[in-house]
């Protein structure tokens, strides 16, 4: 057996350490942007499990993100939960939804899978609007500062928020780095590369795909719940098609099937949109152009291209 390569661990540890240092170095605006990018990268990393590693393109991950978000938000808002159990409810909601949707949607393949996930997510979005009495629909609701104190730490405070986001980001990053190097992760890649062969080798492909879907939904839900908790807002916008497409865009841009790709993609896209929104309201134009250009010229994304051309060891 080959000796464990130290470089991926150095890369992940270095990334987390750099992010922690950046908080003290960066001007306040950028230090305020980073928690958002980190939480959204958690969502994208969840998406990457399914899309990047298992090769299943879902167009409905917003339902898992918003399940986490509403699981936390609604229990705090209407049932007076404290953040910790509410966060757990968010995780359970997203996991259950992923298990149910996965069990149904995985009966289809290819384009049908994309459309089925899209339709389920759309039903979820419409349901959020339909139960507007509780969710306040598109307008959403704010979670009061008093309800955002986790174990005595006020998460509406800049510094606390930054490090809470960083902790979640680090946990997710290391979990995924571990999972994709495990036998389970390798089996997922085998399915992506050649499903028929993986099945022939004796893998229970259906079950593995369902497990990938559940893990992916769980992580996406963690992103959603954290978003609601850290930024104090839950709204139906986060359940819309656009929020299903964004993680796809981030992962494609950063590099599908790479551990740090989702973060790189989310960070890059955030600044690209931030930059372009100074010139125009139509900032989604950038997202559209990026999607088209990526499909045409850089199928592997930023980290993927780096791995292909320069550093073959990139995880």
């Amino acid at each position: 057996m080959k000796r464990e390569d130290w470089r991926p661990w150095a890369l992940h540890g270095g990334l987390v350490a750099t992010l922690a240092l950046l908080y003290f170095v960066l001007p306040p605006y950028h230090a305020g942007v980073l928690p958002r990018v980190m939480v959204l990268s958690v969502y994208a990393m969840g998406y990457n499990i399914l899309f990047g590693y298992t090769g299943l393109l879902s167009l409905g991950h917003a339902m898992f993100f918003s399940a986490g978000m509403y699981g936390l938000g609604l229990t705090i808002q209407h049932l007076d939960f404290t953040p910790a159990p509410a966060f757990l409810v968010g995780l359970i909601a997203a996991t259950l939804l992923a298990a149910i949707v996965g069990a149904l949607a995985l009966r289809t393949v290819g384009v049908a899978f994309m459309i089925v996930t899209l339709m389920f997510a759309q039903s979820g979005f419409l349901a959020a609007l339909y139960f507007g009495e509780y969710t306040r629909g598109d307008e959403g609701f704010a979670i009061q500062q008093a309800d955002r104190v986790l174990w005595g730490v006020d998460l509406s405070n800049e510094t606390n928020r930054f490090f809470a986001a960083l902790i979640l980001f680090a946990i997710t990053l290391f979990t995924i780095a571990f999972v994709v190097r495990s036998a389970f992760g390798r089996a997922l890649v085998a399915i992506r590369e050649n499903e028929a062969r993986a099945e022939m080798l004796g893998y229970n492909v259906t079950r593995l795909k369902l497990q990938a879907m559940i893990l992916s939904g769980l992580i996406a839900g963690a992103g959603g719940a954290a978003y609601a908790l850290l930024f104090g807002y839950a709204g139906a916008t986060f359940a819309s098609v656009q929020y299903s497409i964004l993680p796809l865009l981030w992962v494609l841009l950063g590099g599908a099937g790479t551990t740090i790709g989702p973060f790189v993609g989310a960070l890059f896209m955030f600044y690209l949109i931030d930059f372009s929104s100074e010139f125009t309201d139509a900032y989604l134009l950038v997202a559209g152009l990026a999607l088209v250009l990526l499909t045409l010229f850089a199928r592997a994304g930023i980290v993927g291209e780096l791995r292909r051309r320069v550093w073959g060891w990139l995880p």
Partner: protein, 308 residues
């Protein structure tokens, strides 16, 4: 108003919706049928049709009918040409790979939508119908002298709405005739069945694909020009027709014009009727769930053929 007139009113609204939906969905279905490609930007070509209708009808002066007819000719041509260009520049270069095509057309969706936002703006703008006489409809009730006619208040429709229904039917018959009875239709079916064989027989399949992609978009634009005087032209108006077209095309069976039309009538009518009596959101939830379950449990209808 009684239940009866209410139901008839809902059915007329439903029929108008169904007519426009059928045209839009046939465009989507045609593209999938021949090219095996899902065009997520389909709704945006619909939106372009409506926006162009506004633009043409405001720049052409005189009677609204002049502008309307000009829009009816120009909008599909422009939308079609644009779509053919997208096919040429993007889809052909990813070799019509199903997943890349979807990602690329999602990109196109944003590009078209946001470019419209930048140029046309965020306002919804009305378009004057070429003619719009009100037709009051009669109803019967038991009065003092037994059954008698009367015209309930608010019970009626307009000539323009009836025109939309008739125009859509004529256009659909036209599409069917082209597909089933002409040489172009034969070439399309040949490219659909076996692109390599069609190529061997001298069919320029690349050109056929560009033409079909353009024609699909042109049908969507045409539908939008028809509906624009009833609704309004807005840069976000492509979302609903896209979703409904998907629903219709999947339930009706992709690539089958007849199935698509039947499903459009079914969905359009029931959507109109359900929305009138219940919440429109609930109607949409039911419809989207229905699509998901049709795809899961009856995949042989459409996508299954290709994958299995």
């Amino acid at each position: 108003m009684d239940f009866g007139p209410y139901l008839i009113l809902a059915s007329i609204e439903g029929a108008v919706q169904a007519a426009v939906l059928a045209l839009t969905a046939v465009g989507l279905s045609l593209v999938f049928g021949v090219m095996r490609v899902v065009n997520v930007a389909h709704g945006e070509f619909y939106m372009i049709g409506a926006v162009l209708a506004w633009w043409v009808s405001t720049s052409v002066g005189g009677h609204p009918a002049v502008g309307f007819i000009a829009a009816l000719v120009l909008a599909p041509l422009v939308a079609g040409a644009l779509a053919a260009l997208c096919d040429f520049l993007i889809l052909r270069r990813v070799d019509y790979d199903p997943e890349s095509t979807i990602v690329a057309t999602i990109g196109l969706l944003y590009i078209i939508q946001q470019t419209t936002l930048m140029t046309y703006g965020p306002d919804a703008r009305p378009i004057e119908p070429p003619f719009n006489e009100r037709i009051a409809l009669p109803w019967v009730q038991y009065g003092e002298n037994g059954l008698e006619w009367y015209y309930p208040w608010g019970f009626g429709t307009t000539t323009y709405k009836l025109f939309v229904i008739v125009a859509a039917i004529l256009l659909l018959v036209g599409v069917w005739a082209v597909l089933a009875r002409t040489r172009i239709g034969m070439i399309l079916r040949a490219s659909q069945l076996d692109p390599d064989m069609a190529r061997a027989f001298g069919v320029n399949v690349d050109r056929v694909y560009a033409l079909v992609f353009g024609a699909g978009a042109a049908l969507a634009a045409l539908a939008a020009v028809l509906i624009a005087p009833i609704q309004q032209a807005h840069y976000l108006m492509g979302g609903d027709p896209l979703l409904l077209s998907f629903i219709v095309v999947i339930i009706g069976g992709l690539g089958s014009v007849a199935g698509t039309v039947v499903a459009a009538v079914l969905i359009g009518m029931s959507d109109g009727v359900i929305s009138m009596f219940f919440s429109p959101t609930l109607a949409k939830i039911i419809a989207t769930m229905l699509v998901a379950f049709v795809l899961i449990f009856r995949p042989q209808g459409i996508f299954g053929k290709r994958v299995a």
